[in-house]
Symmetry: C2
Subunit: 433 residues, 2 copies
């Protein structure tokens, strides 16, 4: 596995972060200790729970957040900020502390997903890149988790790279894996993150050859009888017959990518069984989402390939996380809780702590948020904030498998209503102490 | 402006492209001349037109599509493909020809946005990365175009970086600019593509200071009276009064980020005028989309900052473009049109040509597609396919301003119904000759 990209992330930043820094240097407030919190005000409409993803990528982004010479030259030439600010940026590295929900954990409205404590100067600069990573990756994981739940143990394969930005594609494959997908088509996700990849073939491969027989023969010869043949380029029944003839009854799988997948799956299963190919699997693709997956529960389907709806968060491509200053050093040196006062955008000042309240039966009962002090643990509860960065050093990195395992466990703890795909309220109430 | 990133794009690729290549090498078909077409089967539901964006980024991605040693080592160690395929990949560079709709042009169902002619080996490898770039960037530009049309000349500022993947953010800022946005908050978009950036300040900046007066004073002192003050942290009327007191009547602008923006804008305009700050602009932000922008048409608003809805394509985060083999060399050496036969996914074989049919009054009347031969031009028409890559050399690169200008012209040619934000049919019919 290759190390995280060394490309600087410093310009994945909004203009105003740098100009706020400049103004804060001017007013002597840039060095004030500050606590920022990254949190959702709500879940996407109708969703029962959300899934935290992107933690590992965010840690990579923090380490790569530095102002190299080309970045500084750009900022100087374009007069984005003044000389004093450039000087501060030249030496920048994050030296503060960050706690957060570990990757794969589920979340609810107002869960304090990240608590960033540093000078204002350091903490404000990370605003955009942290939000970008978390808003994207968690949206994908939240959708993916519903899909793997609907699939009820049948493997799900992420195939959506082509329907989203090429770099978002790789992050989406990673997030889907955290939420229980088994593999991806995206090769960069395998190289960077070790996500298993798999692939079948496209209609173009069949059309390239003079006959479907030529195409199947070419694929089986090159990739072995365990390969997956795409059988809907011309006539499905004829292709299934031909596939078993070419590969033998040990043919790995066939893929259906169009038509009424439920009906076709039954027909194809019967045909495969009649041909003696009882072990040949049926993989379906074609605009699947969690509802389509659930609707195929009684069909003889052995795997789901999901594309567009996965990488677009199944109707909710972003989480709406915000990053707010909740406390900062006052004139006397003590920390002061702060919050925006007006109107419709509710924030709560003060440094947050959080735990998942669990019943004696191990079922989750509430998301409990403590302000300034940790909420009391009744013995079964799980603290949700873990150290991610300590004095600027990343301490929260873990293998992706750990996040994947955590997600499976955290989801299993939720009340049964979490399994409902219909619209409804979050399955846990957020209690603020 | 910096050159395009030199990072290889070769693994922004689906696994099956490489295994199809391996199988095609095996069957002796990898070298067959092939024509692939990138096109939409439909517009997003209810949309009147789409906007092509990402052309320049796609050309960068093609140039960066090469298999460096680390990529080859990865593919070898992971046994993704066999030795013969690795050897072919090691020397890969695209040597074929590509024609396409120029950036900023509008499109309709079945518009042949890209025509890629090369060997199967070369053309199939570009499938995922071309689709990723086009599907993302065009989705953003299509939404952005509706927003700038609704804004009717008032400036639109792209502020959505935090709500999407950090690299998608930069591409979104670029695409929005093509579709008429005036600026972005995203600094990387300025560095890479020369998109103008702008910024105001966040609630955190006000909250960092002991008083709102301290914050405004700090901002005006550092950034000048032309700056934009955020006035909704505590009480809007008091903040407006204070802002003019601190900056004087030449205060550049105030930003409203919450509440009933229409009502507030009227109140704030009256207050600013009463204070003599008649030139101070009012910028509104807060979950705007094209409908919210249109609803503010009669309010005294001087600029719109758009975030989430822009970077998520205002309900349509991807375009659903597909990349299909439409013709390939037959046994006798002649090109043979090909298409998938079955069921619900309609494709049309054969190499496409396209023109925009224009009436004598300059108004667009139809999208005319010719199969194998160019459709006849009645004199007013505009051919839509231009050379982008010739024998592997990029020939279609142009300044981003050219794409921006083209979009403005192409949109202006459309029938008036293109300006309707309500759901409806595409404003031009696609005619296949």
């Amino acid at each position: 596995m290759s190390p995280p990209s060394a490309a600087s992330t410093a310009l994945s930043t909004d203009h105003y972060e740098l100009t706020m820094l400049q103004a804060a240097i001017g007013s002597g407030t840039a060095g004030r200790r500050s606590v920022f919190e990254l949190f959702p005000r709500r879940l996407p409409e109708g969703r029962r729970y959300g899934v935290v993803a992107g933690v590992g990528r965010a840690l990579d982004a923090i380490e790569a957040f530095r102002f190299d010479d080309d970045v500084l030259d750009f900022l100087r030439e374009q007069e984005v900020v003044d000389a004093a600010t450039l000087e501060r940026l030249a030496g920048f590295s994050f030296t503060g502390d960050i706690w957060g929900y570990p990757e794969g954990e589920v979340y609810f409205p107002y869960s304090p997903l990240l608590v960033v404590e540093a000078t204002f100067a350091e903490a404000v600069l990370l605003e955009t890149v942290l939000l970008s990573v978390y808003n994207h990756d968690s949206a994908i994981a939240s959708a993916a988790s519903r899909m793997t739940m609907a699939a009820a143990g049948r493997p799900c394969i992420e195939m959506g790279s082509r329907r989203t930005h090429e770099e978002a594609a790789t992050a989406a494959a990673r997030a889907a894996y955290v939420a229980g997908f088994d593999a991806t088509s995206n090769l960069a996700a395998r190289q960077r993150y070790g996500v298993p990849t798999t692939g079948t073939s496209a209609h173009s491969f069949t059309l390239l050859h003079d006959t479907e027989r030529d195409a199947f023969t070419a694929q089986v010869t090159s990739l072995g009888v365990g390969t997956t043949l795409l059988v809907d380029t011309y006539d499905v029944a004829e292709a299934v017959r031909l596939g078993v003839e070419v590969a033998g009854p040990s043919l790995g799988a066939v893929r259906l990518d169009s038509g009424d997948l439920g009906v076709l799956a039954h027909q194809v299963r019967r045909q495969l069984d009649d041909l003696g190919a009882t072990g040949t699997r049926i993989v379906v693709t074609s605009d699947l989402d969690e509802h389509a997956i659930a609707a195929l529960a009684s069909a003889p389907v052995d795997g789901y390939g999901v594309g567009t709806q996965l990488v677009t968060g199944s109707g909710h491509p972003t989480c709406g996380f915000v990053y707010k200053l909740v406390a900062r050093e006052g004139e006397a040196g003590a920390m002061v809780p702060v919050a925006k006062a007006s109107t419709d955008k509710v924030s709560f000042g003060g440094r947050k702590h959080a735990l998942r309240r669990l019943g004696a039966d191990g079922v989750a009962e509430a998301e409990v948020i403590g302000v300034d002090v940790p909420p009391p643990d009744d013995g079964n509860d799980r603290p949700l904030l873990v150290p991610l960065v300590a004095s600027g050093r990343v301490v929260g990195r873990e293998p992706l498998e750990a996040a994947r395992d955590r997600h499976e466990r955290s989801r299993a703890e939720l009340p049964l209503a979490a399994q409902m795909l219909s619209r409804g309220d979050p399955v846990l109430e957020t209690v603020r102490l």
